[in-house]
Subunit: 357 residues, 5 copies
């Protein structure tokens, strides 16, 4: 605890970041910067930078609007967007360098392309959101394939090992769902606050023409479009989730019903065994070294053999009949339900349609 409380204050003075200038060219790659310098240069509060500090993992994505900059911290991207500069902070352990280089390539390209009509900071934002979106989409497709494949395997065989994989996948899915929802919430939080939206027109601000609080249609359409697409992903993840859920429920029912079938077969075997036991007992009686005077009869052997098998078959048949009575399971209960039906009708205003089931 002590560490936690102290560790928050000084230390960690260096941050690695990549800087792009106003023309979209990379000025520095993974350069080391002092935290304090960054703060003063970009007029940030040290508390803001802490969020971006790569060593503290953040689950909750944030888009913070500051005086001269927008601080974006979503999934794998931690960036500081200004009216003429983009600072990308290296996230700690972001081994996924391919995703990052595609993003960088797209960002450079987009920053150069001034024709689109969007100001510099929004083009940067667009690239960032596009990268986030494609990362989410890729993961969603990946999980959908994993889960879909597993569920398809379950079609063929319900198996122990598959449940274990199901557990791993549904953990992944839950964690993904959570992340996607948080991204959506972060976008919507920004969209809801008119002041923040207006304050994000950094170029205008720099040129001394700050936007009015309600004049931000361009940005709203941009963010809304991404928000809709993230919503689509969240929705799809929920679909997968509910699919997994209902599969689990049905699998449990199938296992239960299968168990009953196993038990019923077991019971049949037990009944046969019992019948055989009776036969053996009958037969054993005559195996005793005692005089019964039956040994003197000519056909006693055949009669007793028949008797023992008859006892076997009789006992088994009785057992199997009782079993088959129990085995017949259905939801309807024959004649008892009828009279109640009639009592229902008095009040079944609209419930009628559903009662037939």
């Amino acid at each position: 605890l002590e560490k936690a409380m102290k560790g928050r204050q000084p230390a960690d003075l260096m941050l690695r970041c990549t800087i792009l200038d106003a023309d979209g060219n990379v000025k520095t790659i993974s350069g080391q910067f002092r935290r304090a310098e960054l703060c003063s240069e970009h007029r940030l509060n040290p508390r803001d930078l802490r969020k971006i500090d790569s060593r503290v993992p953040n689950l909750v994505p944030t888009i913070l609007v500051r005086k001269e900059a927008i601080l974006v911290n979503i999934l794998h991207i931690r960036a500081l967007v200004k009216a003429d500069t983009v600072v990308l902070f290296d996230t700690y352990g972001s081994a996924d360098s391919r995703l990052h280089s595609v993003f960088l390539y797209h960002l450079e390209h987009n920053l150069r392309a001034k024709v689109s009509g969007l100001p510099y900071e929004f083009r940067a934002l667009e690239s960032i959101l596009l990268s986030v979106l494609s990362a989410l989409e890729a993961e969603m497709v990946f999980i959908r394939n994993l889960v879909g494949g597993l569920l398809a395997e379950l079609e063929d065989d319900i198996d122990h090992d598959r449940f274990k994989r199901l557990l791993h996948y549904s953990r992944r899915l839950a964690s993904f769902q959570n992340r996607a929802k948080l991204v959506q919430e972060a976008l919507e939080e920004v969209l809801e606050q008119d002041e923040d939206l207006a304050a994000m027109y950094l170029s205008d601000k720099k040129n001394g023409v700050p936007r009015k609080a309600h004049d931000h249609e361009e940005l709203e359409v941009l963010l809304e479009s991404f928000s809709k697409q993230v919503e689509e992903i969240v929705n799809e993840a929920e679909n997968i989730q509910s699919n997994v859920q209902s599969t689990q429920e049905i699998v449990e029912l199938i296992l239960d019903s299968n168990r009953n079938a196993l038990l019923a077969l077991d019971l049949k075997v037990s009944i046969l065994t019992m019948g055989i036991g009776i036969g053996t007992l009958v037969v054993g009686v005559f195996g005793m070294n005692l005089k019964s005077h039956i040994e003197e009869h000519e056909y006693a052997f055949y009669v007793m053999t028949a008797v023992s098998f008859a006892a076997f078959i009789g006992a088994a048949w009785t057992g199997v009949r009782r079993l088959s009575k129990i085995r017949k399971v259905g939801l309807s209960n024959g004649n008892r339900k009828r009279p109640e039906k009639r009592r229902y009708s008095l009040f079944s205003l609209r419930g009628r349609r559903y009662e037939g089931w």
Copy 2:
């Protein structure tokens, strides 16, 4: 990922669409148009058209209001409604051509019928929503029949295969429920924004008399009526869903209770087998080729046979009695509950009515 990010930019230049003119006549059927041309002709943002692009499947339905057009993308319909034209985009793989031709027939008819008092764009919208509604309704009725039939079958017999079908149906149901809810949300989202509603009076806008933000009662009543009907469908789907849910729960209880019955019968059989075993043991003792001096007694055979059967019956009877004690399961626990009841009453302010249960 790379593909995902790049694929979003250019490409896909052609779209197939059907165009209806101001008199409701079909001008072009499945004609090919350049995306860029469509954008410039109808003054749309390319980003808007992307939603309608048939190759990207969309789950989340949208009704977008643009300067001169309304973009509708709900379920099987992707349309661009203007003050004097309706452009229907062919959805990729929409094999359900019958649904589509009925829709087209109705749309043509409705666009021609100028008597209803509604402007051109609302008549188009009405046809679109009607088609969506009847598609939802048809699917709902279809699923209701499927599920209802299956649940009726479960009345007769709880069966393995039926659970598998139940799984398939409840996946269908969940996916349908999701779609219906999203349609309702899309309608309500439009209804909530007064500016959008007013901006949908395209004919008035074209004639240079844009509506004021609060003057949109006609449209509101139209959309509200559809929204109510979709709500009804959503509600019904939820009913089916809760029905399936409670059936699953009870089926599980029934399977459990059936399993206990099977076990109890098994136990009876086991007990009998054990009793028979005792008899066999007794009898076997006298089958030993050892001298016991009992063989000299005259009635030893009959006595020992009786003893062995008595052992059998005694053991079985003891077992069955213990079983029947366990089998009696109820929720009440005889005399122990009483004293607590008295302690309850002190605080049972209003809980009284529920305690009797």
Copy 3:
């Protein structure tokens, strides 16, 4: 589908309805009227009447405020209330004529009693809501008795057939709950919209003194009072629902625990059977027609009998001891938990009170 889309347009021209005049007298009973005439007479939109059309079953109740009338469609009642007329539409298949005649009697009486100070349309509304309320209440009491009785039966005996009835009742309950909630939502929707409330003062409107948007206390108190009572019913239904739910959960636990008890007894029997088997094996050894020279010993018979029974008892005892070790199930796990307890205390800020459990 085609039918669905076409069926919506013309057809269904006749509606049966009962009309009461300004003095509460029944003018027409179940008279047939043309839909178009009704529309023009009461200045309604045909779309409004469609909701009331008895052939389309409606789950979602609605209270629509139109220029000269209030259209009420709740449960079994579909009525058009005007400043001096009440039109009751016959609901298709409303066999529950007793409920209806009580309602009609009350409505007539209430419309005549001008002393209460409420305008004509509110007295009609009061009667309608009262009838709805008493229908809901009656059904709630009925279901409560059904479910309560069933749960009381479950106290005595947990049974197969009872689960089936439980399923039927909980479907009924869910459907009732849904309907009651929808009624409440319909009432609250009206209560939330000041314009609608003001527009419901039809008499004032007719007399040319329309109410201002915020001057509707009388009506608000009236509707709020019904809303509260419906809330009470919804609340009670939820109570029953949660009761059923927790009973199901506990019944499952009891069945599980009972199954374990059955298994344990089964195991005991199996162990005894195994012991007997060992005895039989020992005894059988000496039943072989082979020379073992043991047959020459005098007391061999008694020794071997004793040995066989000892084997039986030894095996059984060992088995029963292992069983009893497994059978002892509790939530605490002896000594292992203690050391962790100590580690807890460091952070157990307020969790302390709950840890004792």
Copy 4:
């Protein structure tokens, strides 16, 4: 139904109530009053009094603000608070007279103590809310002890009877939770409406200085303080509830796992029995009264005995080995999971931390 509709109108003309005057002295104890008189005396609407009528049990508590009075109907208390009088209605069957007399004592005392600075009506309200709060608290403590004790018992032994008690307690808990939540909602409903809060300053109104809508800090602090305390109780009840829930879930898992242990032991016994059976079969073969020429060998007896026991042990050993293979259950699945892990890493943006589990 008829009764329900008629029963609502006249009848029930007498109410029993206790009246306290402006100095906190009891004027009448359980005096009988006509309903109509009460209405006219306190300028109430008959509909308001109906809520307080003791014969209709109310679950949903209400605080109604009328022109000259506050009508309070929470749990066991039904009171009419005016600027100089408090009328307490006797609740039907409120046997809990001790709670009531403590309340009456406190109320008298509080009404006399004019020093606190609060006006008469708020002192009455304070006493009422305090009584409600202490009743809720007492019941919560009582239920917490019941449930806590039961859960502690479950630590030692998971038992049939305990589940039944658990059912009764969790019904009680659910009903209590419901009541506490409704009390909180009632308080918050009042707190949300500024007009109502201002209208509750009855003394000021009587003195002709009605409060302005936003000038009600005193009352707000008073109600908020009670609301917070009720929230605390609701929160605690939810804690107990979630505790019960998670205990049920784990108990089910433990019963399941115990059942598997029982089955495994059963299986071991079955395997031994089967082995013994094989031995008996071998031995039995030589018990046949048939010539096998083996009887002539000297050590045949010992050899066959050894063979039979070897068959027994061999069969049992094979069985037990297969059993132990099945019995080893874990969530990890050895080597199969690894390769997938590698494929994960591509997209495991932030999911990384959770994968280790």
Copy 5:
């Protein structure tokens, strides 16, 4: 009850507290103060102090803004922050003195450091929230490790004792989750009320320059930053929670599936036993001391032995075949599903993608 109602009024006159002055120096350590004096000195309402009274445990954290002070009551900290003094109340039984001393050290340090630009009261608040946050974080990390470790153990072996620990951990987790959520709600409640935020600028108020209702950006940023971090913790706790949940569900499935495997093996053993029984019966028949004339045949012994083993093997083989038919469980049901698929396609507007599963 009586005690509860009386106990609330007088008594408890002394409170122990630690006071820090305007320079951050500790003036008094655990000094005893009269409640009444504290109230009058800091101009508090006695009701406010009751919340802070250490003997009543509070679950719901509160931040109350009073005229000259902020009352903070979160988790282990109960403090009164004024413009130049901080009063820390000793919480009853707060054995966790280390957490407290770290907090005190940090608070002193922070109060002295006037350079940060924040007024005195906000520096105190910052220290308090930081201590709360690090306490939450520490507990979260601790629980995450506990649960993570347990789930990792479950990977290896699903065990009885582990479930018991799981129960204890998930209770802890639920209680932690609840606390963290309540802290977040308390922070957000303050953030939502502009008046309260403005009223918290105690220094300005003291200097006679009260803030306007909307001028509180500094404080908002401070509180928002803590709120975000608590949200992160809540989010993580929910992740752990959902992880535990899905693990429980899968463990149940695995136990179920394992039980089926056990049953299947049991069945195999039973079938073998039955087969052996048949063999024994056959053999026993010839053990009878009855004449069958078969004993005279030369190879009768070998024939009958073969017959008995054949019966054994035949019976066992039949049984095992039937078993293997039941054992094959999958979700797909061969050929029956196909025809329905075709009927689906009519309406499978967008459901198509999910059907493949």
